[in-house]
């Protein structure tokens, strides 16, 4: 698991190239590497309940080399286990999810199944991210969008939605 090249194909490959710094990328590099898009994509896909299957209507492909994969293996596994633990798209009980997350590594069949799920979240997340930046045209737009994502995320994390915070600010001014 996470010891070979990773491949993103089709539409999602095209999106990933636009989000990360890439030789073919002509837009703002929100992420420094494709693997960052891959990891954040997985997270965003899960958090936003977005799974997607590979869409090869667009003929594109991008690879993440095994050396890069291995270097980021800990992070990748961590995110993988989180998703395997938390994904409730199936009727698995928590114990079973724990086993899926932590005890199925040597079960090839299970791993293949799990990676399918993981990849679906990655693709969903890439779509989500792409949509977020879809309207950005200038550097400013990108920077502000990135900052907004962070801010909004931070507020949500602190049990305080970003919209709540804005409302609070508006209220205090009234």
């Amino acid at each position: 698991m996470f010891e070979k090249d990773l491949r993103i194909r089709g539409k999602h490959a095209a999106y990933a190239k636009q989000l990360a710094y890439h030789a073919e990328n002509t837009r703002f590099p929100v992420f420094k590497r494709i693997i960052d898009v891959y990891m954040i994509g997985a997270i965003m896909g899960f958090l936003n309940g977005r799974r997607a299957t590979e869409d090869t209507s667009v003929k594109d492909e991008v690879s993440i080399l095994a050396s890069t994969v291995v270097a980021e293996r800990d992070r990748l596994r961590f995110i993988y286990r989180l998703i395997m633990l938390l994904d409730s798209s199936t009727d698995l009980k928590i114990e079973e999810r724990i086993n899926r997350a932590f005890r199925s590594d040597s079960d090839e069949q299970a791993v293949t199944e799990n990676m399918k799920l993981f990849h679906a979240y990655v693709c969903g997340g890439i779509e989500f991210l792409y949509e977020k930046f879809q309207d950005c045209t200038t550097n400013d737009d990108y920077i502000e969008k990135m900052y907004e994502i962070v801010e909004r995320f931070k507020h949500d994390l602190e049990n305080n939605t970003y919209d709540d915070a804005i409302r609070q600010i508006i209220d205090s001014r009234l």
């Binding site: 929100v30 958090l47 989180l82 724990i98 086993n99 005890r103 920077i143 990135m146 962070v150």
Partner: protein
């Protein structure tokens, strides 16, 4: 020369002071002094020679009168003296020679002889002495050359003393006035280094001409370079004027457009600031992206981590593993192939799969341990996200952005103001450019002026040097010209001299032959060679041959020669030389003769006596009374003065004038 008088003092037999005054009358130009044998005729003629040249042909050198000497007491001094008064070249001379004799207790001794004394009467009538010994001798030599003295003081009894070997050529030439030419030739002589031409040649400076040529070349070079520089300077001056005008114009323009200039400067400053800020903005952007990316996964995974922790907290995780058993024990059992129950274990069998499953629940792979590790990982990841740094980078980006926007607004405002106005900055740049060009031109001009000055000095220095050399070379030219003149003059004189010498010789030969013919009554002829030696030729059967000469013939020959010489010398010789009338010296000469007729016969005496007073300016004859008897009928009427020698003893004679 004419002899005026002779005064003798204690000279041999002429005791005391005795004087003879000679006739200087042109008509009665003969002075006769009669004397018998041993009366002192020869002594008298010798007195002349002694006075002039300090020599005599007496066997004894003591000249003091014997009676005088005998009467001297110890310590007494007596003087022998001969004084001749003469006129030469229209000047009166007095020549006096003395010898002092001192009486000692043994004998009477002659003091060492001294030079004669010489006086002359100057044009003002004053008697002036000539003191310098060299001048005394040379004056006497000029009056009558010693070489010819035996001809003029003619001793008929000692005819042999006129040596035919003696070189009389120079003396004859001197007498005939050629000396001035030969002196001039010697003075100019091109072969001598001490002559005029020699000295002129040695004063030539041959090196300086070459040096002068070099200097002229150098001056030409320097002048050419300097001219070049002058042209360059003129060019520069034009350029300088151009730039000065441009600068003035631009400065005026800039003064008028001062406000615009300030605006343009402000605009440029803003542009510079914006460019800098844009660089800062780019950096802020990069910094922000950097920080966003750093541990982004850890940040965005936070909700999941939170959820995971909560899920795990709510779940009781049961470790179904066999207490005390661990994964290593299972591995051992599988590897030995036999279970602890004795059942055989084979890969792929249900027993084997069961054991593997069991092993997953055994340490170290216990679920509890794994979850603990996972939870630790979550906590670690939570700390990795640095929000503050990201926020700071964002703020910086914003500030840059704001500043840039503000400046762009200002810039736009300024541009509106400046729009349509001249670009002053460009003019300012031009002004700077003009100024630096002008400075370069000015400094180049300075350098060129300096170089030109140096060259001018150098040229001047060389010019001075050349001038000094030119003086030398001018001098050289002059000297060469002088040398050519001198050589021409020398050649001219030489030709004249040779021509004249030849002519004089011929004339002399003619005269001598004419006179000889008047004196000699035979068929003989005289020839004179280049050295002025006289040879007698005798006609024998139409041939002429040299024959032995008798004493009488010798006497006549010598008379003829001296008479011819005197005759020629006396003539005023005028010669046209190179178109100039040049007077050679002409001088009358006396003939002083001692017993001239001793060896001549009656006929010859008569002949000689007839000829001599006509030829010579002055004739002084000391003659025996018997010989005078033959001569008197012929020349008696020419006698102006007559003396006779009154012989009292062998050692005492008085000179008496006969009236």
């Amino acid at each position: 020369m004419l002899l005026k008088s002779i005064r003798l003092r204690n000279f041999r037999q002429f005791q005391g002071e005795q004087t003879i005054t000679f006739s200087c009358d042109p008509e009665r130009n003969v002075t006769v002094i009669l004397g018998d044998n041993t009366s002192g005729k020869t002594t008298l003629v010798q007195a002349f020679i002694w006075a002039l040249y300090g020599v005599t042909n007496f066997p004894t050198k003591d000249l003091l009168n014997v009676h005088v000497a005998k009467q001297m007491h110890v310590g007494d001094e007596e003087t022998v003296e001969v004084e001749i008064c003469l006129n030469h070249d229209n000047t009166d001379y007095v020549i006096r020679r003395s010898e002092v004799y001192v009486c000692t207790n043994k004998d009477v001794r002659r003091r060492p002889s001294t030079l004669p004394q010489l006086w002359y009467k100057g044009e003002d009538g004053q008697i002036e002495p000539i003191r310098e010994p060299v001048r005394i001798n040379s004056t006497i030599q000029r009056i009558l050359p010693k070489e010819l003295s035996s001809y003029f003081f003619f001793d008929g009894e000692r005819i042999n003393t006129i040596s035919s070997q003696q070189d009389v050529a120079e003396a004859v030439q001197g007498l005939l006035g050629l000396t001035v030419l030969s002196n001039a030739m010697a003075h100019l002589n091109p072969r001598s280094t001490r002559s005029v031409i020699g000295k002129l040649r040695s004063s030539l400076d041959v090196n300086s001409s070459q040096r002068a040529e070099q200097i002229v070349n150098q001056i030409d070079q320097y002048t050419e370079r300097r001219d070049n520089i002058t042209k360059q300077i003129d060019d520069l001056k034009q350029q300088i004027t151009y730039y000065q005008e441009q600068i003035e114009e631009t400065e005026n323009f800039l003064r008028e457009h001062q406000p615009t200039a300030a605006l343009q400067r402000k605009r440029d400053e803003l542009e510079r600031n914006i460019r800098a800020e844009e660089r800062a903005l780019e950096e802020a952007k990069n910094r922000f992206v950097e920080r966003f990316n750093k541990n982004a996964a850890a940040f965005f995974a936070r909700p999941m981590m939170k959820m995971a922790l909560e899920s795990l907290k709510q779940t009781e995780v049961s470790d179904k593993g066999i207490p005390g058993m661990n994964a290593a024990a299972i591995d051992y059992i599988i590897s030995r192939g036999v279970c602890i129950c004795g059942e055989e274990i084979r890969e792929g069998s249900s027993h084997h799969a069961h054991l593997i499953r069991e092993r997953d629940f055994l340490p170290p792979q216990s679920i509890g341990a794994m979850l603990r590790t996972f939870q630790d990982q979550i906590k670690l990841y939570e700390t990795l996200w640095d929000y503050d740094n990201l926020k700071a980078a964002h703020s910086e980006f914003r500030r840059c952005k704001d500043r840039i926007n503000t400046w762009y607004e200002e810039l736009s405002e300024l541009s509106k103001q400046i729009k349509g106005r001249e670009d002053v900055i460009k003019h300012e740049e031009k002004l700077q450019d003009y100024r630096s060009r002008l400075n370069r031109l000015l400094s180049t001009k300075e350098k060129l002026i300096e170089e030109s000055g140096k060259l001018a000095n150098e040229i001047e220095r060389l010019q001075h040097h050349w001038d000094s050399l030119a003086v030398v070379s001018e001098k050289n030219r002059k000297i060469q010209l002088y040398i050519r003149y001198a050589e021409a003059i020398h050649e001219w004189i030489k030709e004249t001299y040779e021509c004249r010498q030849q002519e004089l010789r011929k004339q002399l030969e003619e005269r001598v032959n004419r006179i000889f013919a008047q004196m000699y009554h035979g068929r003989r002829k005289v020839s004179i060679n280049e050295r002025f030696r006289v040879t007698l030729w005798t006609s024998v059967d139409k041939d002429e041959m040299v024959t032995d000469e008798s004493r009488g013939l010798e006497t006549v020959k010598n008379f003829a020669f001296i008479a011819g010489l005197v005759d020629l010398a006396r003539e005023k010789i005028k010669e046209r030389i190179g178109g100039l009338e040049m007077a050679l010296s002409s001088e009358p000469y006396p003939l002083v003769m001692d017993a001239p007729f001793s060896n001549a016969d009656e006929k010859h005496v008569s002949n000689i006596s007839r000829v001599l007073p006509d030829i010579a300016e002055q004739v002084i004859m000391v003659v025996m009374a018997k010989d005078w008897g033959f001569a008197e009928p012929v020349m008696g009427y020419r006698v102006g003065k007559k003396y006779y020698l009154d012989k009292r003893s062998e050692t005492l004679t008085y000179i008496r004038e006969s009236v």
